[in-house]
């Protein structure tokens, strides 16, 4: 094995399921199709038995032919030929019905598991998405589910085949115990080979799937970062990395290929040995006159007939393992525990928007404690700006209120209720979040604005869009609100994307607004208009503002200064400035940067100038 398995470790949320658990879970997906599956099984069984009847028919003809070693009247074999004819057609009809039905069942089941997989992905909290590359998540929902349903149809096929083997075995032993025993002796050998194969196959397949997932996420990253790679002419380095992963995948594929191509010849060898034994032993008996030609012929054919079902048992294992390994990955995804746990399901018809953090403890990981007992209350309707150094925990507050992450201690109360008691979906509908790099979905500007309220008409959308920056920004869009934004909004400038995100927020009409550096990317010309729009947007709502815009901060009702997860100052702009503490110092620095006169590195001089101007707020 060795070095080339590097980087193919399972994800943390992967877990081992016993085959029994997996099969049990899979069966539940077929529960709704029980009747169809029963019919399918019956059809498969009937077809197999009919197929097995044919050698008996032929053997009876040969017996008649062979009795005196010469010809009999052709008319004697006519009924048998007719039976051959009828059974051939009947087998086809049975198979047609079986496949027609099972195609639908398989399609439905794959659809069902994909839906469950998708729902599971949507339920994961943000820490899950921080941790796992989206390419790998996507591959579980689309690729792994594909081989899932095959498990069940294969099992049905297998069961009908096994039944047929049993019936046939009974008949053969009844006809001739010795030859029957020889014909059946290949069965345990095949079973042993198939079981050994099963272990190897499963491991190989898992590795192959992981290497595919790795290649997947590598391609995705190269494509996402393509502009950076181009600007720095680093295509070659990316390609080198890709080549390394590609080679690894190639080696694993070769091994997979070897494992899968060797199984059939092994099984054919075993059955060949069976044929050989019957040929010799049976031929000897015929020579001794103990059995008829027809019987001999029957047993030689019997091995061939056994061979069909038994190799399908073997190929069953390979495909079955494929399905099980895939199901394991899908179920692991479905079963991964979301860190964000709601204890209740209280609907949230309306919110006033009072937010209380009560001795709240939060860490992203064991090493990284963000809050160790944070407490504050924001009354309904208040706009609060959080300021502080990078890493002080400003963004975490917004993320916790949005329930993207789970906190580890203390309580968070919204309108006096524990936030964990709410129905999450209903609660989040009362929230509006705008982030620094807003995500837009492919579609038009209008589609994105009505994202939170899909039933909004174009008129509603236009009305909302006009409340942002006076609608002036729409004029530069080639098709107005019908402009296509491209994948992840790439056709729009970052500033335009933020405007769309703000319009989206207005459309959603939330009770609590979280603006995480939301106005940072807007050019100076649009900034003032955004500010006006924010006045409209924030009115009557509780707002958590994490901003670096002087104007946004100073217009807040209240300012909380954070330092290393603790509140060090809390008050109004004016109050804090007069206090001359931390905020006053930050504000000075801030004002200095946003003033047109600022020159970097001239801090001392700038501070002097500021003092002269008595910290007059800009832009008011």
């Amino acid at each position: 094995m060795g070095f080339f398995m590097d980087g193919l470790e399972a994800e943390d949320y992967d877990r081992k399921y016993s085959d029994k658990d997996l099969v049990g879970r899979i069966v539940t997906y077929f529960r709704d199709h029980r009747k169809t599956m029963l019919v399918v099984a019956l059809l498969a069984f009937s077809a197999s038995v009919l197929g097995a009847v044919i050698p008996f028919l032929i053997s009876s003809v040969i017996d008649r032919l062979g009795e005196d070693g010469s010809a009999v009247a052709f008319s004697d074999v006519v009924p048998i030929v007719a039976a051959l004819f009828a059974s051939g057609i009947l087998v086809w009809v049975l198979n047609f019905c079986r496949q027609w039905l099972s195609a639908r069942v398989v399609g439905d089941v794959i659809l069902a598991i994909r839906k469950d997989g998708f729902r599971a992905v949507m339920k994961r909290d943000m820490s899950f998405f921080d941790q796992y590359p989206s390419g790998k998540i996507v591959s579980r929902v689309t690729s792994d589910t594909q081989s899932f349903a095959s498990v069940a149809t294969l099992t049905l096929d297998l069961m009908s085949q096994v039944l047929m083997v049993l019936v046939l075995a009974g008949l053969l032993i009844w006809v001739n115990p010795l030859l029957g025993a020889i014909a059946l002796s290949i069965t345990p050998l095949v079973a042993v080979a198939a079981l050994a194969f099963r272990r190897i196959a499963r491991r190989t397949i898992q590795q192959a799937q992981r290497s595919t997932a790795r290649l997947n996420s590598m391609v995705q990253e190269s494509m996402t970062g393509i502009s950076v790679a181009k600007a720095f002419r680093r295509e070659r380095a990316l390609y080198a990395e890709f080549t390394e992963a590609n080679e690894q995948s190639y080696r694993i594929n070769l091994r997979e290929g070897f494992v899968f191509t060797s199984i059939f010849p092994i099984l054919i060898t075993i059955s060949g040995l069976g044929t050989l034994a019957i040929l010799l032993v049976g031929g000897d008996r015929v020579l001794d006159g103990e059995i008829s030609y027809g019987e001999w012929y029957l047993f030689i054919q019997a091995v061939a007939i056994f061979w069909g079902p038994i190799t399908s048992i073997a190929s069953f294992w390979s495909q079955f393992q494929l399905g099980l390994a895939a199901s394991e990955r899908v179920f692991a995804l479905i079963d991964a525990e979301p860190a964000v746990q709601q204890t209740g399901d209280r609907p949230v018809p309306a919110l006033r928007g009072e937010i209380t953090f009560d001795n709240l403890v939060f860490r992203y990981s064991d090493q990284e404690t963000v809050f160790d007992g944070l407490s504050f209350t924001i009354p309904a309707g208040q706009t609060v700006a959080f300021v502080g150094h990078t890493g002080a925990g400003k963004s975490s507050i917004g993320k916790l209120i949005a329930r993207y992450y789970e906190f580890q201690g203390g309580r968070m109360l919204i309108d006096g209720h524990d936030v964990r008691e709410f129905n999450l979906e209903s609660y989040r509908q009362r929230l509006g979040v705008v982030t620094q790099v807003p995500f837009l979905f492919s579609g038009t500007v209008a589609d994105n604005i009505r994202y939170g309220r899909p039933d909004a008409t174009d008129e509603d959308v236009l009305a909302v869009a006009k409340r942002i920056a006076g609608g002036e920004w729409l004029d530069v869009l080639p098709d107005g609100i019908a402009t296509d934004v491209g994948e992840e909004g790439k056709s729009l400038s970052l500033g335009q994307r933020q405007l769309v995100a703000l319009a989206r927020l207005l459309m959603q009409d939330p009770a609590i607004v979280i603006l995480d550096e939301a106005t940072a990317s807007v050019d100076p010309l649009t900034e003032a208009q955004i500010q006006e729009a924010l006045d409209v947007a924030l009115e009557g709502r509780t707002a958590i503002v994490i901003a670096h815009r002087l104007s946004t901060i100073q217009e807040a009702d209240r300012i909380i200064v954070l330092d290393h997860g603790r509140i060090i100052e809390d008050g109004t702009h004016r109050g804090l400035l007069q206090g001359g503490g931390h905020y006053a110092h930050l504000f000075n620095t801030y004002f200095r940067h946003q003033s047109p006169d600022y020159r970097p590195g001239q801090a001392a001089e700038a501070e002097r100038q500021l003092e002269e101007r008595e910290l007059a707020p800009a832009g008011s």
Partner: protein, 608 residues
């Protein structure tokens, strides 16, 4: 690809007097043999011809395997004849040994043949992936802007995975089937030519129905791939935008979108399954076998064939069953594979607008930038119209204008992220299209709005694009210059901290400082600073400004910024409105003269 770029040549403005220079895609790999894109089969062949031994082993292996399959019923027929004609056990034993030898040899051939086909499949898979990746890396930014990453991913993973199926089971079983038909039919003709009636019926009608089947299946398979790619893209988008989905509680809407796609996938899959159910060759084989058996019994009763011949014939008719049963599956596998190949070739063959002059101008950039009547548009609509200006080496130029006025686009024309539609851009007096792309881009540093970090260590991200021989000290020095050293050292793993999808989440300001460090390390002559990301929190603002000032020093800088002081102190300001250059000059010149510009500063009296 070379052919298409030659075709491109006609619409390029070639420098007067110059022979048509060779232009190639932005990125390519040497030493890769050219592949043939004229058809799917030719393309596959252009890959396989480099593995002649594997190809030989594959074909030989499968032929020998088939010989065993057909030989077995004949040998059994011989055994039958030996016994019925009153032969001895010794005779029977010799025939049994023959069966053993044929069986063992056939199995070895089977392993060799099937494995060789997997090797061929795996090789094509690997090479195609590389080919696609090279091609994607070489495509222009315009191309990438138009692609959905989810769809590209589906192509590069699922489509390429189907290539294997062309070989194993596809080609290996197809060859097996053909050889079985030939060998078995020949053996039957050898027993008695009259017996060819049944096999003949099967081959003719089976073949016809198979062809019809394949024609019906093909569009469905293509549709399946397309629908699948689309659904994959939807899912990918939902996962990438998960924060927005959650924030607006729109999981249900995403669910509906995905379910719609998944249902389409299901419907196509069911349609394919039901077409497969109605598979006539098997019905025809059943009829042909019954007719053949009747005829064989007739001939036997007439004494035309021996008992051994009869048994061998019945056994040979059974060998047709495998080709009849399996071809349905083989065909769909091969068709899926071919559809995948076509989709890959489609991407590879998409013309990349930008191509590179191999023998282009390579020199140290002094930093003079001239726009001469530059117009640029995407898909027919102009973003920039008729821009002309000159920037002297070492100047800092700020570009101002409303969101959407084309500021970012303007900067992207300089390093040929996009190519102009009309007019030209000169750097040090040389058209950017005449520059060698490596030389040009390595001397233009860009700090973009949306800074992308790769899933690797901070050290590697800073050194991304650095010249060879960059030492640890250089990296740390650059990080210091960018005021990034401090926060990097606060991480537990310091410079080894992973960023990107799996790594730590960095604030906008931290990202920006990493990008500045990157730019300092590559020491570009021209710097493009799209500084919309003022995600810097106030306390570090001064550090950032210092870092920016440092990185601008001694370089021609094109700057888009919201920082009023940076605009004010720029050597020159370009004012854009709706894609046109409405004014240019220094702050003092523009104040009062240019209404748009004055508006920016209207709220501040100090700058007036």
């Amino acid at each position: 690809m070379i052919r298409s770029s030659v075709a491109d040549e006609s619409r390029r403005i070639a420098p007067p007097g110059a022979a048509a220079p060779e232009r190639l895609a932005e990125f390519r790999v040497e030493g890769v043999p050219p592949y043939d894109y004229r058809s799917t089969l030719r393309w596959l062949w252009s890959h396989n011809r480099h593995s002649p031994w594997v190809l030989f082993l594959a074909v030989t292996g499968v032929i020998l395997t088939t010989a065993r399959n057909v030989g077995t019923p004949i040998i059994i027929g011989l055994a039958f004849e030996e016994v019925t004609s009153g032969g001895s056990f010794e005779g029977l034993f010799r025939i049994a040994m023959l069966l053993l030898v044929v069986g063992v040899a056939g199995n070895l051939a089977d392993v060799v043949g099937a494995y060789s086909f997997s090797v061929l499949g795996a090789r094509v898979q690997k090479e195609a992936r590389a080919e696609l990746t090279v091609s994607l890396l070489g495509k222009s930014q315009t191309f990438h802007n138009q692609q959905r990453i989810g769809d590209l991913m589906a192509r590069s993973t699922n489509d390429i995975r189907t290539f294997w199926n062309i070989y194993d089971p596809g080609a290996s079983i197809f060859l097996d089937n053909i050889m079985t038909l030939i060998f078995a039919t020949a053996a039957i003709a050898f027993i008695n030519p009259e017996l060819l009636l049944g096999p003949g019926l099967f081959i003719v009608f089976g073949g016809i129905t198979l062809a019809i089947y394949a024609r019906q299946l093909n569009p469905l398979v293509i549709q399946e791939r397309e629908v699948f790619g689309r659904t994959n893209a939807t899912l990918n988008e939902a996962v990438s935008g998960i924060e927005t989905v959650k924030a607006s509680a729109q999981e249900r809407q995403e669910e509906r979108k995905f379910f719609r796609g998944a249902t389409d996938v299901r419907n196509v899959a069911v349609a394919i399954g039901q077409l497969q159910a109605r598979y006539y060759p098997l019905l025809i084989l059943a009829v042909a076998t019954a007719i053949g058996a009747a005829q064989a019994f007739w001939l036997f009763s007439e004494g035309e064939i021996s008992s051994g011949g009869l048994v061998a014939f019945l056994g040979l008719m059974l060998t047709y069953r495998f080709p009849a049963e399996i071809s349905i599956w083989t065909i769909s596998m091969v068709q899926q594979g071919f559809a995948g190949v076509r989709r890959i070739i489609e991407i590879i063959q998409t013309d990349t607008e930008l191509d590179e002059r191999v023998d282009g101008h390579a020199a140290r950039v002094e930093g003079e930038i001239t726009f001469e009547g530059v117009t640029f548009g995407y898909g027919g609509r102009p973003v920039l119209e008729d821009l002309s200006f000159t920037i002297q080496p070492g100047q800092t130029v700020a570009i101002v204008g409303q969101t959407g006025s084309g500021k970012s686009t303007l900067t992207k024309l300089v390093n040929r992220t996009y190519d102009v539609t009309e007019g030209r851009i000169l750097i040090d007096g040389v058209d950017v299209r005449e520059w060698n792309l490596d030389s040009l881009r390595s001397q233009i540093g860009a700090i973009e709005q949306d800074i992308f970090l790769f899933s690797r260590s901070i050290r590697d991200n800073i050194a991304f694009g650095a010249p060879p021989g960059t030492t640890e000290e250089d990296i740390i020095e650059a990080a210091r210059g960018a005021q990034a050293d401090g926060f990097i050292r606060q991480f537990k793993d310091g410079y080894d901290t992973e960023t990107g999808e799996r790594g730590v989440s960095l604030s906008g300001g931290q990202r920006q400082r990493l990008a500045i460090a990157r730019a300092l390390l590559t020491d570009p002559r021209i710097l493009i600073l799209d500084d919309a990301t003022s995600a810097i929190d106030s306390a570090t603002e001064d550090e950032i400004q210092l870092a920016l000032q440092k990185v601008q020093h001694g370089r021609t800088t094109l700057m888009i910024t919201h920082r009023l002081s940076q605009i004010r102190w720029a050597d020159r300001i370009l004012v854009l409105d709706g894609g046109r250059l409405v004014d240019q000059g220094s702050h003092d010149e523009l104040m009062g003269r240019c209404a748009i510009y004055t508006r920016i500063f209207s709220r501040y009296d100090s700058a007036a």
